[in-house]
Symmetry: C2
Subunit: 299 residues, 2 copies
DNA sequence: CCGACCCTGTGCATTGATGAACGTTGCGTG
DNA sequence: CACGCAACGTTCATCAATGCACAGGGTCGG
């Protein structure tokens, strides 16, 4: 059903608004940048649809009836609202404020958090929201502005991808485990040990593939879905496991079992949605985080 | 100068509003009754003009960015406002409320006022504004809804004219004047008397013409621009003068000098502007006032 | 009293917006 | 894994909205 008299055409209201303001069709046409014939047609259409005269025509121009004056007030308020809206939206695109949503694998949390805190300190107007979780947050649905992804370069069409840094991994065990089971002599000795792994059969992480090629699945004695929990398990002596190399500094009781292989290192990517990539807020964050880790790396 | 980013196209905002509501281009197109290609073009144009993405495109539809959500809120408010406006305007055209502006020669004030009061009593929602004055209030400029005009039928193009009633005039004098100067014997005796006249040389009122044909201008010893003042002058004995025949009932000290001639009677016309004539408010008043004076005349 | 100017209003040519059709992509389902 | 569905996105033909030109009428100033 289509109710009669519903205002279906907002542009005609805008035209009527200008006519009511200026008092003449010609003046309104000039203000709107259209031909005065168009203005007349808009008014006629609007009045025809409403069934009420909005203006009285006379040689000096158009004067608003009561209905026209009512429309004038409403449209004036609307015009103000839209002007403010335009200002906000344009300012929003240019300024660094509002929410900035970042997502990554929770494995990277320890590394990223200091950087995000520093960024927020530099831009007090912005509120950081850091989202990690078992599922991958999707940029397409507006769930995050920036994602830090690991592994092979993402190739989703609407995402703009930048190389970020390399995530080096180490195969470690806790002192407690080594005291009990000893260190593997070499790679071939690995099947004789227990492993703490991520509970994802079809993980395409290179170190996961590397491990599955050398160690039968029965040795994956502890499976977790959370990196934090995996670390706890390794520290508790559940077995060998892969952790971010940076963690070795913070956990002296972790012992590197065998030398880190280059194939394990997963590149990290800064990913943004193409719709948001141009905004200064996102750009500011990307620039900041790249500079931040360049400094950290060089220091 | 034309500021960039000003929202020049309210229809595009309306389109974006529906997209933000429905979440999909197709849904919005369906709601708007247009093709979905049109919706896409509107969004693209709007985003291009603002320089900010309002939506993130993905396979499941469009989700609003922060800017899009801001627009959604503003446009939602606007839609509500316009809906209410449409309701008010349509109701206004149908109902009998608001101002009702009536204008006439002030000579008719005494006759019209009771009718207008009775009309207002019947329609409490309406506020009567009765405007008399030296100048003629013009319907074209929206100065009045209804005019009561005397004399020959008005023929302005945008006015709709209805015959109302006849205004019978009498040539009278006060008892004081008659006591001092006596009554004229007949028409030919009139130049020997003084006259109270309306101060308008080129009055086309038939009684005025009739008088000027028979009495030299020197005998117009009292000229007034106000009917009320003319009546006062006649009552004070300034001379003979034309008054509405109905006044004889209220002023017993007025004496009819010679029998009223048919040529003096001026027809009265109910005049409305074509733009307002169709409104129920005006129609209600016209119907009421015609019935009112029909009853009065027949009683 | 008259002429110049401004504003409205309308018929006709044109442009820009719209609609239809098709292709593509992603997602869910059996 | 294949299929179907739903949604976006583009291209081309069409049509309605627009702009243009001119006529008509009223007002204002000299």
């Amino acid at each position: 059903m289509h109710r009669v008299g519903k205002l279906d055409n907002w542009d005609e209201i805008r035209t009527a608004f200008q006519v009511a303001r200026k008092g003449t069709v010609s003046g309104a046409a000039d203000a709107l940048g259209v031909h005065h014939a168009t203005v007349i047609r808009h008014i006629d259409a609007l009045e025809g649809r409403l069934g009420v005269k909005l203006f009285q025509r006379h040689a000096r121009g158009y004067t608003a009836t009561e209905a026209g004056q009512d429309l004038l007030q409403v449209a004036q308020a609307t015009d103000d609202q839209f002007t403010q809206l335009a200002g906000r939206i344009k300012g929003q695109g240019e300024g660094v404020s509002g929410d900035l949503v970042i997502t990554s694998l929770d494995m990277l949390s320890a590394m990223l958090t200091p950087a995000m805190v520093a960024f927020q300190a530099e831009h007090p107007e912005v509120r950081i929201r850091y989202r990690t979780g078992d599922r991958v947050f999707r940029l397409e649905y507006g769930e995050a502005h920036v994602a830090i992804r690991a592994g092979s370069m993402p190739e989703e069409p609407d995402n703009v991808v930048q190389p970020f840094m390399s995530q080096r991994l180490s195969l470690v065990a806790s002192e407690a485990y080594v005291a009990r089971r000893g260190l593997p002599k070499d790679v071939d000795d690995l099947p004789n040990h227990n492993f703490v792994v991520f509970d994802n059969e079809k993980s395409r992480a290179p170190f996961g593939i590397w491990l599955r090629e050398r160690v039968p699945e029965e040795r994956f004695t502890y499976r977790a879905t959370d990196n934090r929990n995996m670390l706890d398990a390794i520290l508790a002596g559940a077995g060998l496991g892969f952790v971010s190399s940076q963690l070795l500094d913070h956990h002296p009781d972790l012992i590197e079992v065998i030398p880190s292989e280059d194939s394990w290192t997963a590149p990290l990517w800064l990913v943004t949605h193409v719709d948001l990539h141009r905004t200064t807020k996102v750009q500011a964050f990307l620039k900041f985080i790249k500079a931040h880790f360049k400094t950290v790396a060089s220091s």
